[in-house]
Symmetry: C2
Subunit: 395 residues, 2 copies
């Protein structure tokens, strides 16, 4: 195992103690096993390594950090260096867990479940049933860690912000290479293969399967690039991509217009759509401040794009990015059932969101943009340079 940097886990555990105090929650426990099989997204924050047997990572309001793990996993947890105590066991976690909890003078234990927030919903039903069985007849009360995790994932630490900046920077370089590569005759699939090649060349993995769309026949869904859809003059080419660099991601969308021979300006329907999309993103950016509710940000961009005469987008205008491309917590999204409570969350300083939406332009293709932005107490910062005009490709 190459020696790793656990600065971020140390930062996040310190933040967790602070958040437990803000929320007045006695303790928070991440309870996992076989994490290569069923990952709890909280584990990356509290450990940054995989575990095999039942493992409990406990943080208390008073600042205690205790790990209880299978004997073979003990060394690696010690190497992370973030826990005051690393307790190993052989046959069952139950006695060690009850013993450790007994020393903590706590009642509530927040565990990772949430209907609204997938990133706070890492606890599996069987594991929860085991935990309830272990704690039968004790004074402990299991509550949802939704609020704890919401703030913990959302408030990016200095280490996390630095890594996301690096991921966005690399993505911008990759986008530049893609712009140089695109030319009439290339299929969506060829461009996609080229993008995968760029990822490989830069030793990064995609943060999600990149999307490539060319022209009016291409699908806005995630159906995958087509070998028979080829770039042609008059097309809008759209990409949606991101990388994972040192465990943190980027997520951006860009468009190009492929000029027809003799064409001197971007066709009016494309320019008009671009302006409307850009305007809607700026409308969201204008209200994206600490203290505002997620849904209110979505309201702003949704109202803007509708006012510009386009249909509303069928998703949220923004989501957190971090260790994953949909990083849970507060969503800048509409008040729809499937989003649960997430649009009702409050934006905080340190949040890094996408701002994204698009429209289909008949006869040309998909005009859709996505920017990554950092919320600070002193205003919004664009992480990377936003796309402010249609990039034109001439052959």
């Amino acid at each position: 195992m190459p020696v790793k940097d656990y600065t971020i886990q140390h930062e996040k555990l310190a933040q967790a103690v602070q958040i437990l105090n803000e929320q007045n929650v006695d303790a928070w426990m991440t309870f996992v096993r076989e994490t290569r099989l069923t990952n709890d997204p909280a584990l990356g924050l509290v450990l940054g390594e995989d575990m095999t047997w039942h493992s409990a990572f406990i943080v208390t309001k008073t600042g205690k950090k205790i790990a209880i793990v299978g004997r073979y996993d003990g060394d690696i947890v010690k190497a992370v260096g973030a826990y005051d105590e690393v307790i190993g066991y052989d046959q069952s976690i139950k006695p060690a867990l009850l013993d450790a909890l007994g020393k903590l003078n706590i009642r509530q234990i927040a565990v990772n479940y949430s209907e609204s927030d997938a990133a706070a919903d890492g606890l599996n039903v069987g594991m929860y049933n085991s935990l309830k069985r272990y704690l039968e007849g004790t004074q402990y009360e299991l509550i949802s860690a939704e609020e704890v995790l919401n703030h913990l994932r959302g408030r990016k630490s200095p280490g996390e912000i630095a890594r996301i900046r690096s991921a966005v920077k690399l993505t911008e370089q990759i986008v530049e290479s893609i712009g140089d590569f695109i030319k009439p005759g290339l299929s969506e699939l060829q461009i996609s293969d080229y993008i995968h090649g760029l990822f490989k060349e830069n030793s990064v993995t995609p943060s999600f399967t990149p999307t490539v769309n060319t022209g009016p026949e291409s699908s806005m869904g995630h159906g995958g690039p087509k070998g028979d859809l080829k770039v042609a003059p008059g097309h809008v080419v759209h990409i949606d991509l991101g990388v994972v660099l040192k465990e943190y991601v980027s997520d951006i969308q860009r468009i190009w217009y492929v000029a027809k021979s003799g064409e001197t300006s971007v066709p009016e329907p494309v320019q008009k759509a671009f302006d409307a999309v850009r305007k809607a993103i700026l409308a969201a950016a204008a209200v994206l401040k600490p203290g505002v509710q997620g849904a209110v940000v979505d309201d702003a961009s949704r109202a803007s794009i509708i006012a510009s005469g386009y249909p509303e987008y069928k998703h949220a205008v923004g989501h957190h990015i971090g260790r994953t491309v949909h990083d849970g917590s507060t969503l800048l999204g509409p008040r729809w059932e499937r989003y649960g409570n997430s649009p009702y969350g409050i934006v905080e300083a340190g949040n890094i969101f996408t701002l994204e939406l698009g429209v289909m332009v008949e006869g040309y293709g998909i005009v859709s943009l996505e920017e990554d932005v950092l919320v600070t107490d002193n205003g919004l910062e664009w992480v990377g340079a936003p796309q402010t005009e249609v990039m034109v490709l001439r052959s």
Copy 2:
């Protein structure tokens, strides 16, 4: 997205229908969202792609296969080509789900939770709570899919067996290169780096962090290779590694003895330990047949190693391999609490297990072996060539 081969998903869904009939369960549902964040290990079997919004994959005893997914994920599910019906939705999965279930004439719905089997425990608590809320006041009864998944993951399909064979074959080539590389003076870390290089060269990822141990000071745990532990004459060098090739894994352990100058044979304590370990693996192999209980296989090897005068190993003698290196289902393990029901499962034809155990030899190092074996109706097949003698390195 490169065009993918979904043969295995088609094979597994056909098996699922058969297993639902064997178990007399009306229907099985995999219920997921944001699967890059919280993976349900069943999803690889029924889809082989990631999903974003709440998604339900339903298989019935009568052979119906229905997917209900967010509108943007519809195309990719259709591309998999394994579902009779792919239903898209925008705001909430609930109406589409209730509508689809209403047409199926079912009562029981098996969902993915299990205390014993991590691979059958992919349903998250928040998702389960949402599902119970959706189904309130209906006739449906949610039950555990543990037994369904146990058999489904365990019985490897022809496509799965072929892929595991390829992964093991490549791993054997990698082990050969490692043997050529090891020499006195190299640290565990240098050997580990070399192994990671070989993985990269072969365009595969490790199925788990590979272990490298040299000499008597090295730790049997997963503490990671050390830069200050260097190969020296008289050491046993031990590796535990596997690859993921086309989504299926290998998992093997090998040892070498580094001869001292003038030494003509393997020192007696090392040879004796090797023979005892090999004998214990053969003892397990001798009883590993369809119909036998997992724990009985572990009993055989545990009794053997103790009879040879060594301490018993602190783990199971074998686990399934497949899409992951601990592939859930029946465990060839002791009847310990943390293993739940898994050692009580029954071995079936088509199962691919590891057989693995080791001992520490004072003054020399870790002597531990691991083989991958396929259970068939006509006896056990070693997937790859087992290590039958101590490999000796001479400088």
